[in-house]
Symmetry: C3
Subunit: 343 residues, 3 copies
């Protein structure tokens, strides 16, 4: 496939500079791009790489629009780049129907143009929307509902009665709807609390590989519209992840905790159960959050404190031995003064 | 299904207050319960929610027995609630036999009333007890023994020669019997140490989703009776997890470490290899344990110290910048005193 | 199978002491070994266990060569032990061909003596080398290349176009080639960045269970020759893991970070994106690395500092309450001196 620079500029609503008929055959990073490919730079710090790049054209922000090359000038070069990347590298959409080697239970309802690969299991009474893709080895339990255009990758497990919206992507190995971790004490014994709730995943959510999203004890564990979850993340029973929140790899969120909209949790963060993080809260990597955080705050550390204070603490901590020496020396000086006074 | 309040009180051995013939059709939380459902409150702090609840009846502790509603009074309302929840929400037990799409190796022994779903693999010489359920996509290797009433969820992997007890639950995506991580050095090369041991999981253990329980180098990795393990937990080769221990999500336990009975490890804890944690040890979330801990101790922090000391440290740490300022000021005052003395 | 002590000494190029014709039937640890088995001790601290051991023969280092038992004296007793363990406990190599229940796509090229179990899926145009083993439930996408002697365990997922070298081992539940976590902002919306790169895994790499190795945005995520990765490790898009590096369980490495050769990351470490760790860098357990680390350095802590400084800090931290008291007392003494001076 080839596109003209003019076509690409039009696609991303950018301003064209240079030959509109220049033919572009692909996209690549500045260092890898060849003369028939387009690349991008988000700001001046990439100027050296731009100069060395063999790319046939560049997407740049307005402040780099004086580069003497074929350009698409865009307010958001990265987004423009992503749109062009999507154009050149579509993931193949198989028109497969239901493969011979797949198992479909009783009363399964299928939308139009589904693709169900071999070795898929779908339990009774489940409903799959139009253009749903279930890759080989995916497991969908009974009474599950999956919306249009959702893609379930190989070896994903979606257990009974969970509800998955439209345009959702669930990557390989992830488990949706495993039992929440709940036990009542009967003397020394842990008595399992039946987990009779579900998981609800709203439209446009993406969940990475090998995550675990537990079903609710009662009610639902709820991943709201547009939330994006990286790999190996643990979401416990009855958690709510708010709209457009971003959760980086290996985060753990304990039971019944609620995240607002646009929350960002960096990698390996842990959140205690039964707390609320307000809209736009941001939590630094490896932090441990032990209480609710009001909207808009940025916290770090374990236990987490205001990010600004945490930065200060880190600095002091790195000089702690020095500080300790200073205290020891002061004590000596103090003792000398006291002795002198006494004598 | 409906039950009378009298039948429910009898089931949980609680004391009935109100109409014994009141009909209950289900269970729910205080906020969700409808007039034909029963709910529960564990203590006075839920009184406000109790007042607002539409529940037809409540399970309460003796100190709340004066609430003017149909009640079951129980010393352990949560446990009573769990028993009633189990009654109303049993997970279906399929009477399935061996599905057409399952693979059974040679010399596999099956107990009575097993349910083996399509796309299950069972290797040669394995032995499955009565009422064992293997959900679709589960893998059971060769020479594996699984006790009565054990449930293996979809996409679980149990590798060769592992031994699993009765009434065990293993959730989706968990791997039992992967190779332990062991290498001998041969100059610059890491030479794989064959992992020829097994994993033994005793009765009534529950293991969450996407956990990894490595087989022993020699001998066995051993999860003892009644231990409960949450999601994404790593148990390395030759580890012993003692009876009734509780391990929360994303914990990692390094090789050959031994946990006693009733140990509790909170989320994201890491334990070094070759140490022992005595009975009833408790470790706070995200802690890092680098040495053995005597029975009964509570530790926190990374590296972990006595929990009480850790709490103090956290307080001081949160005021570290303030403390540093104080030291700086004191140094100045000290210098002034010294100068004065000299002059 | 039985071997003479002479044969074993020859295999490991060790020095024989005692009856060359002594027959050995197996290997075991010092405590478990029986009189027809061989065990090993790496140093004097095992002397007590050696005395109590029932082992018929021992592998020991030169400094223990005066033990009055049948011995193989070796400079590297552990390596010698591993070689003998391999001899006695080979993992069965099935000569299986392609099982009836496996799905092979179009144009798949198979090497000699492959073993493809039931319920394996291989997509179109993939190439499998000689003696490749794909265990039941393994998923191999389209256009994947797998080198000779590589073993893919049950329920592993290898997605489209990834390249896997010779002699690689990938344990159950691991996902290779899931999408990297990348989004461009379009106002409030997160627009998915197509992940069009691959994962390349070089020869002799071993990857544990339930790991996630994301494919590159463009180009490749690259695990280099001989690297060994434990369970539940997250490797983000475009990461490079250098030759012979060792990564312990539950580590997370963020996007585009590069590890040199022989790097060791202990358990639960987190590394930020876009940094470089030089050759032979070592990072202590649970550390958080927020910047590049020059070759050869050892760091610990979160944020990570020089390991030596971290050790000092830990000591001071454990005495922080004490230090704080000292400061309070000094302040009082100082105030007294100042008052006296003024009076």
């Amino acid at each position: 496939m080839e596109k003209t620079l003019e076509e690409l500029a039009s696609l991303v609503e950018g301003e064209l500079q240079g030959d509109p008929q220049l033919r572009i055959a692909g996209v690549a990073g500045l260092e890898e791009a060849r003369s028939n490919e387009i690349s991008f730079a988000v700001g001046p710090k990439y100027l050296r790489k731009v100069k060395q790049s063999k790319a046939g054209a560049l997407i740049v922000p307005p402040k780099l629009s004086d580069i003497a090359r074929p350009l698409i000038v865009s307010e958001n070069p990265y987004l423009a780049f992503v749109k062009i990347l999507k154009l050149f590298a579509p993931r193949p959409r198989p028109s497969l129907g239901v493969s011979a080697g797949a198992h479909l239970g009783a009363n399964v309802k299928l939308g139009d143009e589904v693709a169900i690969y071999p070795q898929v299991y779908v339990g009774d009474d489940s409903v799959l929307g139009d253009r749903v893709i279930l890759h080989a080895g995916a497991y969908v339990g009974s009474g599950v509902v999956i919306g249009n255009d959702t893609v379930i990758y190989p070896n994903v497990t979606v257990l009974d009665h969970c509800i998955i919206g439209k345009g959702v992507i669930i990557h390989s190995g992830t488990v949706v709807g495993s039992d929440g971790f709940g036990f009542a004490q009967d003397g020394n014994n842990h008595v399992k609390v039946p987990q009779v709730g579900i998981v609800q995943i709203d439209d446009d959510v993406e969940i990475g590989a090998n995550c675990t999203i537990d079903r609710a004890t009662m009610g639902k564990t709820w991943i709201q519209r547009g939330a994006k979850i990286d790999n190996l993340v643990q979401v416990a029973h009855n958690v709510v992840v708010g709209e457009n929140s971003i959760i980086i790899a290996q985060v753990g969120i304990s039971g019944s905790t609620k995240l607002g909209k646009n929350v960002i949790l960096a990698g390996q963060v842990g959140i205690i159960g039964h707390v609320e993080l307000g809209d736009n809260v941001r939590v630094g990597a490896q932090s441990g959050v032990g209480k609710s955080i009001p909207a808009g705050q940025i916290v770090s550390g374990s236990p987490a404190i205001a990010h600004r204070d945490w930065l200060k603490n880190c600095q002091i901590l790195s000089r702690l031995p020095e500080l300790r020496k200073k205290i020891m020396k002061m004590e000596k000086r103090l003792a000398e003064l006291e002795q002198e006074k006494d004598s």
